[in-house]
Symmetry: C2
Subunit: 377 residues, 2 copies
């Protein structure tokens, strides 16, 4: 078995779970935030920096690596771990979400999806079998079934047909998977914002006994309260003894709300993307470091943070670097934002251990300025 989920305890204040996931490249503590390394690199960071901030697992993108440099090259290099010099666990997504959100002129059939590369317009095709072939070549510890991710909003009939195809594709992914002893395959529950469709998708997928389950199709533009409702009516249909992964979520409030509703794994480009634009997450809320008011602020980005950035550099220096388009500036903001979410999840795990996650959430929301604010980050 390439993956074992160990449920340590459930929080007495909420549905939050404390656990561990054992993989071929090591054990991760859940709930956990996974930094995204789209193109076999977490943008601007070195593997050593990711370890220094205690990242335990990173995500990489099948669609992007299929386009560049090509999965065959990564395979020849000895797999993604060797290629990018990262010896801890990796999860690859299936390419489904990117095919639907990034590519052009896509045509969906029962066989798969034909699309044009967002880079050069090349006509390409990804089927469930192809997605697994690529992911087998990349060699991540956790791989994902190829799914269709409908947009929000989408009508009932479309979502129903789509999730049923995703179920059929999931079965084909299981058949296609060539490295069952080395890579754990997760299924992705779809069903949009419809309670009965989420139930249907979850029941169909759990019948295949995947090693873990993701909830896909959330955080795609819907109001956050709808996402939380969808979690509430989907999670009860997922098995307790398998990890649960909420895809594409990485704002501090959504990480907390997702955890409270029983999710174990999260990923999002948010912390790294906003960092490159100079927006940082701090214990006192969002801080836009390019702001003129930080010109002569010689204090740290976040006075309550112990990360490399906050212990070595001032707001004035980071602002200067960003204003001058200096790469070291976005290294510093990226480092801080990733550390912030990793540290947040460490504190979340501690709060679950102490059966006080709802109290922790209240305290965090007040400090972060999120109280009674549905907009979140």
């Amino acid at each position: 078995m390439p993956l074992k989920y160990e449920l340590i305890k459930t929080c007495k204040q909420s549905g939050a779970r404390l656990g561990k996931i054992h993989t071929p490249h090591g054990t991760i503590d859940t709930p956990i935030f996974m930094p995204v390394g789209t193109l076999a690199t977490v943008k601007t960071m070195s593997p050593e920096e990711l370890k220094q901030m205690e990242a335990q697992i990173i995500l990489s993108n099948t669609y992007h690596l299929f386009l560049r440099p090509g999965h065959e090259i990564v395979k020849e290099a000895g797999g993604l771990h060797t290629f990018m010099n990262w010896d801890r666990p990796i999860l690859t997504d299936s390419g489904g979400f990117q095919v639907f959100s990034l590519s052009e002129m896509r045509k969906i059939t029962e066989e798969g999806v034909e699309f044009r590369s967002h880079l050069n317009g090349d006509k390409l095709f990804i089927s469930p079998e192809k997605s697994i072939e690529i992911q087998n070549a990349l060699g991540a510890d956790i791989i994902m079934a190829f799914d269709e991710c409908p947009p929000y909003p989408a009508d009932y009939e479309y979502v129903k047909k789509s999730l049923e195809r995703t179920t059929r594709w999931a079965e084909r992914c299981i058949q296609a998977h060539q490295k069952k002893d080395e890579q754990a395959l997760f299924g992705i529950v779809q069903g949009g914002m419809y309670e009965d469709l989420r139930k249907q998708s979850a029941e169909q997928l759990t019948s295949f006994d995947f090693l873990g389950y993701a909830i896909g199709g959330l955080s795609v533009g819907e109001p956050k309260h709808l996402m939380y409702e969808a979690l509430e009516f989907t999670v009860p249909h997922l098995p307790t003894q398998k990890p649960r992964y909420l895809m594409g979520v990485g704002s501090p409030d959504a990480l907390l709300e997702g955890t409270i509703r029983g999710m174990d794994m999260f990923d999002c480009v948010l912390p790294t993307r906003i960092a490159r634009n100079g927006t940082t997450m701090t214990s006192e809320g969002r801080l836009v470091i390019r702001n003129a008011k930080f010109e002569k602020d010689f204090g740290p980005l976040d006075p309550n943070c112990s990360c490399y950035t906050c212990t070595h550099y001032s707001r004035a220096y980071i602002r200067h670097l960003l204003k001058a388009n200096e790469i070291f500036g976005i290294r510093l903001t990226t480092y801080h934002n990733l550390h912030f979410l990793i540290e947040l999840m460490k504190n979340v795990r501690q709060a679950i251990a102490e059966d006080r996650l709802l109290d922790f959430k209240e305290e965090f929301f007040v400090q972060y300025g999120l109280h009674n604010n549905d907009k979140g980050f």
Copy 2:
């Protein structure tokens, strides 16, 4: 005295000198290559990485820091060392070269240079006094007198008038210098490609007894053999007991040729600039990593290199990152190129110690593919 030069020995095969320079932030071994941190950051690198590659001193630019973020802000931050988190020696140039090469609509008078910022067109003025005021605020260990750097080619009369003004400006810099106990002021010898003018400039400047002397106005477009000739007829007019700095030179061949002619310090943006374009210096010569032939090359950038990049990543991976415009890729090439020159100068010092620098040069040129090639890098 903020600076002491210790001449350890002279190579028996050449004019090369082995020495040490003691500064308030530590001692550096000469001959030495100084990475350039134009805007208070060596592009893409962290101070820790610079230390890991054994950079002993870095250079920063007065003109750029005057424009952004402004020297007063750096001063308020506690000076450049604190601002950028670099506790080893720093040298700042005077802004002279940049005013003449970067700014627009400059007007030179005896008083100083009026110019427009290359960033926003603001009308600005730098005089010898202003340059020293800025450099006193920045607080580098070594600061430079404000000079005029004539282009190549430039006619005799112009160069003569210019160097005489540079001499008068040098005297004003000495007068303006407010931190004589903390910062060592160097003079800059000009005189273009004219032997008698170089002699005149050197004699005038050495009469002021600076703590070190730079040779400016070389590597400004002239053929390399002319630069070497200019060094040969200028160096004899410089005192033996002071450090000698060849400004703006950083190709491997010119570092060797400059050292052989008795120069001790060098700086150049070449290694960092070409790295960002994917060009690397290796023990076997120049290597353009974006080249298609490296697509499936899983060996290191330079098989004879012990740097972080070469011990952890393949050519295929670095090529992939650069093709995808991933910042980590240019971090890796930058690291390697800087390490390459720092390592080269370490080997040069060893060769001087062993009285075999000319032999070392021959061996290096053959391996690097530079034999009988005036073009250099």
